[in-house]
């Protein structure tokens, strides 16, 4: 016993890193591996949670059904892409512009910066509830505001044609600061030499922005884009609280649809296959963006 104890302590002394990190590695692996593995397993089975029959193997039937038969799925897939493209584009343009403005020296800069970051730290559900009131077609402030410039009134989240843009605006309001923050960090690291050379060569401010700042910032912007694109693809809270996918299915993204199928209809097998598709989509977009970033670098 004594021999074993000494052997063990020597082993620990020689390999502290693997020994001390092992428990957490095992815990994380189990916590991640089991749900992922079980979802994959269920995605090739058919099983209703309330059915007396146990899950039975159906191969790729769930996937075939999703792409071939289920128009609600196809609608959800399209809406996911639409929402993501719209929200990230809005956030990118606004976020980078804001960062450029905030990067200039002015009085009270620190305070303004902090205020701009506030939406990001609020709870999404609370944000959704507040925006729901603002979007209310009769009582909300949004119709009053757009009315000032002669527009509206709109039925913001109950009109199928504009519900997705209306939701993208909420997401943009909340997450533009993140892009600003990342871009500001990128701006702080830009070298000063290219600007000095450009100044000597007589370049204008616009030329310097398009030819120097933006190319140098590209990798940073790509990181911000990657973060937001992944998040937008799986946005749930704002959409669920504000519309629950409605009116009809006009704002039912893949994540919301999967939630309905899994936790309302209890069709666990099919919901798992939808999750696998969502996972593949997120992974695909991430790989694509990483590749673009590397290419640009």
């Amino acid at each position: 016993m004594r021999h074993l104890g000494i052997g063990w302590s020597r082993f620990v002394e020689r390999h502290p890193v693997p020994v001390f990190t092992l428990p957490s590695v095992v815990a994380v692996a189990l916590l991640m591996a089991f749900p992922v593995g079980y979802t994959l397993y269920m995605s090739v089975h058919s099983w209703y949670a309330s059915s007396v029959t146990s899950p039975h193997f159906v191969g790729l039937e769930n996937f075939r059904r999703a792409f071939v038969e289920d128009d609600r799925f196809r609608n959800a897939l399209w809406l996911t892409v639409y929402f993501t493209a719209l929200a990230t584009a809005l956030q990118l343009v606004l976020g980078v512009s804001l960062a450029l403005v905030l990067n200039r020296p002015f009085r009270g800069k620190g305070l303004v910066r902090s205020i701009f970051l506030l939406p990001m730290v609020a709870t999404p559900v609370a944000i959704a509830l507040v925006w729901m009131m603002m979007y209310n077609p009769t009582l909300g402030v949004m119709n009053y505001l757009v009315g000032l410039v002669g527009l509206g009134p709109y039925r913001w989240v109950s009109n199928a044609a504009i519900v997705v843009p209306a939701l993208a605006v909420v997401d943009t309001w909340e997450w533009t600061p993140l892009i600003t923050l990342i871009t500001l960090a990128g701006l702080a690291t830009l070298p000063i030499e290219p600007y000095e050379s450009a100044l000597i060569d007589g370049a204008s401010a616009t030329q310097m922005f398009w030819r120097i700042t933006l190319p140098l910032l590209r990798p940073t912007i790509m990181v911000a884009l990657l973060f937001r694109a992944i998040d937008c693809l799986k946005t749930f809270d704002i959409i669920y609280v504000m519309t629950q996918g409605g009116p009809g299915f006009a704002s039912e993204t893949l994540n919301v649809y999967t939630f309905q199928v899994g936790l309302f209809y209890f069709h666990i097998g099919y919901a798992s296959s939808l999750l696998v598709i969502l996972f593949a989509l997120v992974l695909g977009v991430s790989l694509l963006l990483i590749k673009v970033r590397r290419g640009a670098w």
Partner: protein
Amino acid sequence: MGVTRKVWVLAIALCVAMASPALAQQFNWQQAKGTQLRVLLNKHPWQGAIEPHLKEFETLTGIKLIAEVYPEDQFRAKVLVELTSGASSIDVFMSMPAQEGLKYVRAGWLQPVDEFLKNPSLTAPDYNWNDFLEKTREAMVIEGKIIGPPIQVENTSLMFRKDVFQKYNVKVPTTLDELEAAAKALNGKAMTDDGQPGYGIVARGKRAAATSQFAAYLHAMGSTWLAPNREPMFNNEDGVKALELYGRLLRLYGPPGSENNHWYEASSIFSQGKAAMYTDANSLFPVIEDAQKSKVVGKVGYALFPRGPKGQQGATVAAWGLAMPKTSQNQKAAWLFMQWATAKEQVLAVQSEKGVLGARESVWKDPRGMAKVPADLRESLTVGSKVGTPLWNPPVVAVAECRDAIGAAIVVAIQGGDVKVAANKAATDVKRIMLETEKK
């Protein structure tokens, strides 16, 4: 003295002799003494009203109660997950048969109570099953078996502003045609306290939530969810007419954004005085008559849902009830609880104290039972619960999924799309869902 004493002794003996048959008949509430019951309750006005009385049950029966209360969504999920596991320790739970009954019965999870009801040693002689309103009894029957007693009843009904109808001299609608005419006549008329215009009518428009109230329009128009051969029927001519009417009412005379209104939003608009009529469950009356939040207290009339063109009744009868899982180890005690909770005394107590709409006719005839409920509501509820339909949901296994499919057609109707196409699409979806979920 001696003679008087003898007379007394004789009188007492006589009384005892006469009382003994009655004593023998008296029901034994203590027959499951020492048992422990696990009761799952949904956060609901009935639960709030019965909870203070639960100690009385424990004293009466010697049975210990462990009551768990959850908000509705979590409650439904918890019951389902426990029953799915097959190892549930639930003894009694609150249940809406039209929502989950068929699913649970087909899965073999519920213990019908028919046998308990027939057994005089298990059921008190004064329980009187026939005292429950006719259609509420029907609502508790799934595939020929009674799954438990009803605890609360509600109808889709017409709630209207008495003052507005009087001011503009409009007749309270009793038919669907009159309903539309009244909505048209009153839409845009001044009806709030500060004289602002209001809407002709308000109702739910949110996908699945709207279906349970649309049911009244569907039935009044002469259609229903499924034909006797279990083929979807709501897309027939009358069904499409009902959809068109519902959509037209909300599109033309309802508040903008109706497509996103659940009962909460709809009742808020009505309580704020911004609508002349409101079709929804009459159990919402405490919200509408809440002096703290509502601006229409005392101004609202409660009427039976308007009849259809051929005189058909549309009022739905939605009942909450109690049910018992087959896995319960204490079925006798569970039945005693179900019986106690729905006995006349308890129904009277919850109805008179908190205005919970009970399902017993005798309570509705008792002045104490009416204390907290407007007289016209009592009238329309008792009639509605006799002539209405318990089919406020499609009678299928996958209720939630089918409600979503049909709700999509309701949204199309409100938005003014092609109703017939939407109805047929919903029927195709319902058929597919039934095929998948109702394999024998």
